[in-house]
């Protein structure tokens, strides 16, 4: 399960990852009241139905299904490979890209549609210039 205690001093890796003082980290996007489109970030207007005042903060699902992926074998300098770059359809709406972990990085081990959980963990030990550590999200097979 998620190690909540250690997330207290961590900064969120993206703006839509929320770290409450007490309780589990979660992802918060926006959802349109009119057309039910779900976004992973706040929107000025709804991009689907154009409604100007229909977007409300929306807690994104913590489970989903693998839509597509790539196994990344060469990346930019300093980035550890291989890793699985995964695109997940979230239960409850919205789509997210992230690393799929705890699965062997080979096509035979990866199934389209496989259910995944969103888990929160330290951002691979990466620190910013000021030495801050970060909390990230990952996909793991459910």
């Amino acid at each position: 399960m998620n190690d909540v205690k250690s997330s207290e001093n961590l900064l969120p890796v993206v703006g839509f990852l929320k770290i409450p003082k007490d309780g589990q980290p979660y992802l918060e996007g926006a959802r349109c009241d009119e057309c039910e489109a779900v976004y992973t970030k706040p929107q000025t207007h709804c991009a689907q139905c154009l409604s100007p005042n229909s977007l409300r903060p929306y807690k994104l699902g913590c489970t989903g299904k693998l839509y597509t992926y790539s196994i990344v074998c060469r990346s930019f300098p300093g980035i550890e490979v291989p890793f699985i770059s995964a695109y997940v359809d979230l239960d409850g709406g919205g789509a997210l890209k992230g690393n799929l972990i705890d699965v062997e990085a080979t096509p035979d081990a990866i199934r389209f549609g496989m259910p995944v959980n969103i888990i929160f963990d330290e951002a691979l030990g990466r620190k910013d210039r000021k030495g801050n550590s970060y909390l990230s999200y990952f996909f793991a097979p459910a």
């Binding site: 689907q48 992926y69 790539s70 990344v72 060469r74 300098p77 890209k97 992230g98 990466r126």
Partner: protein
């Protein structure tokens, strides 16, 4: 109807020119296109310049500083990998609207080596390899596997695209690489982002291409002998789609642009004789077979298997060698694709000539996302 024609068009051989500047490369292409048209900078009423990496640096004006500061309007455009096509389209619109009779469109780029894409913003920490990948090979790999998910397309079928396009390149002296690559070599090459191996990725090169566009009146005045008619010009952006932009949707905007272009030209995909499409990665070519209507949805794998998209087949695709062999200088690519089509419609493509070609389609995608489609028609 005010028809618009390509009177002159050319490209420099794509490659690496570290000793030249972006304006110098662009100037070279403009001069080649002017020569091809039999005109000089004095004849040009307006210039449309496409460049992505120096989009804020007045590349068009700097080209004129190289070859003639005649005081004409210059419009610098940037639209990712659709930059060149966008410059061409702006030039087309000026003539179509009757505002100008003779204009130039130029696309130019100097690329660094290495992977396209970004390792992540400066704020916070790098997201690459943490929140998936933002690299272009990985993004287009995932787009390819989306097709696999729906239609069972195989790694081998994607690899066949590279085999075909590299074979075509052996007949194109302006391609960066002109080397055949058998299937085993493509599939066993270094894996960059499954299912794209190194040989299934376009190369980052420097390049420039330019075209002289003229009105019907001017074409008749200057000589119709080698002109090519611009039958359609269409540009589209990515419409709302539930996974986009998390997973860039290159399919919907291509379908929108293709539909517009076929309508404008009054033809269907079945009337095309050749296609230059945006094979930035081998996976992309197959999805565009369907997006452009070259086959039914789900049949792209079978189409590459059939050999019908190779030179001599029913609908040859990327006989230039494609971006996979020519290289992909992103601002220049769109006009270089149009150059290839025009070369065939003028019967000047040498051993790679598609015989009796009447209609050709040039397609590019700029991630983020936009799609440019031009249909050209033989005028003679």
């Amino acid at each position: 109807m005010n028809e618009v024609y390509v009177l002159g068009i050319d490209m420099i051989k794509f490659g690496r020119y570290p000793d030249k500047t972006v304006p110098q490369l662009g100037a070279e292409a403009v001069l080649l296109a002017l020569d091809d048209a039999g005109l000089t900078m004095r004849d040009i009423e307006s210039l449309y310049c496409g460049n992505a990496y120096q989009a804020n640096a007045m590349v068009g004006q700097r080209i004129l500083q190289e070859i003639g500061q005649t005081g004409i309007p210059v419009i610098n455009v940037s639209n990712a990998c659709a930059t060149g096509a966008t410059a061409f389209r702006e030039a087309w619109m000026a003539v179509k609207a009757g505002a100008c009779d003779i204009v130039v469109a130029v696309g130019v780029e100097q690329m660094g080596k290495g992977l396209l894409g970004s390792a992540g913003g400066e704020r916070g920490i790098s997201k690459e390899g943490l929140l998936g990948s933002g690299s272009m090979p990985a993004t287009f790999a995932a787009i390819g596997l989306e097709h696999t998910r729906s239609h069972g397309t195989t790694f081998e079928q994607f690899a066949k695209v590279a085999v075909k396009n590299h074979k075509h390149s052996t007949m194109n002296p302006k391609a960066m690489y002109q080397k055949e690559t058998p299937l085993e070599e493509v599939m066993n090459a270094e894996m960059i982002a499954y299912p794209n191996t190194k040989m299934m990725c376009s190369v980052n090169v420097d390049g420039a291409a330019a075209a002289v566009l003229v009105s019907e009146k001017k074409a008749k005045e200057l000589g119709m002998k080698r002109v090519v008619r611009i039958a359609a010009s269409a540009l589209a952006t990515d419409p709302y789609q539930l996974r986009n932009p998390t997973l860039p949707d290159i399919n919907s905007c291509t379908r929108i642009a293709a539909k517009k272009a076929y309508g404008m030209a009054g033809i269907t995909a079945g009337d095309l004789d050749l296609v230059e499409l945006h094979d930035c990665f081998a996976t992309a070519e197959l999805v565009h077979y369907e997006n452009l209507g070259l086959c039914k949805d789900g049949d792209a794998g079978r189409l590459i298997d059939s050999g019908e998209t190779a030179l001599g087949g029913r609908i040859p695709v990327n006989v230039s060698g494609g971006l996979l062999s020519k290289g992909h200088p992103i601002g220049a690519t769109g006009i270089a694709n149009i150059y290839e089509i025009c070369t065939h419609l003028r019967d000047e493509a040498g051993e790679r000539q598609v015989k009796n070609a009447r209609y050709g389609l040039a397609h590019v995608i700029g991630l983020g996302t936009c799609c440019g489609v031009h249909i050209l028609e033989r005028a003679n």
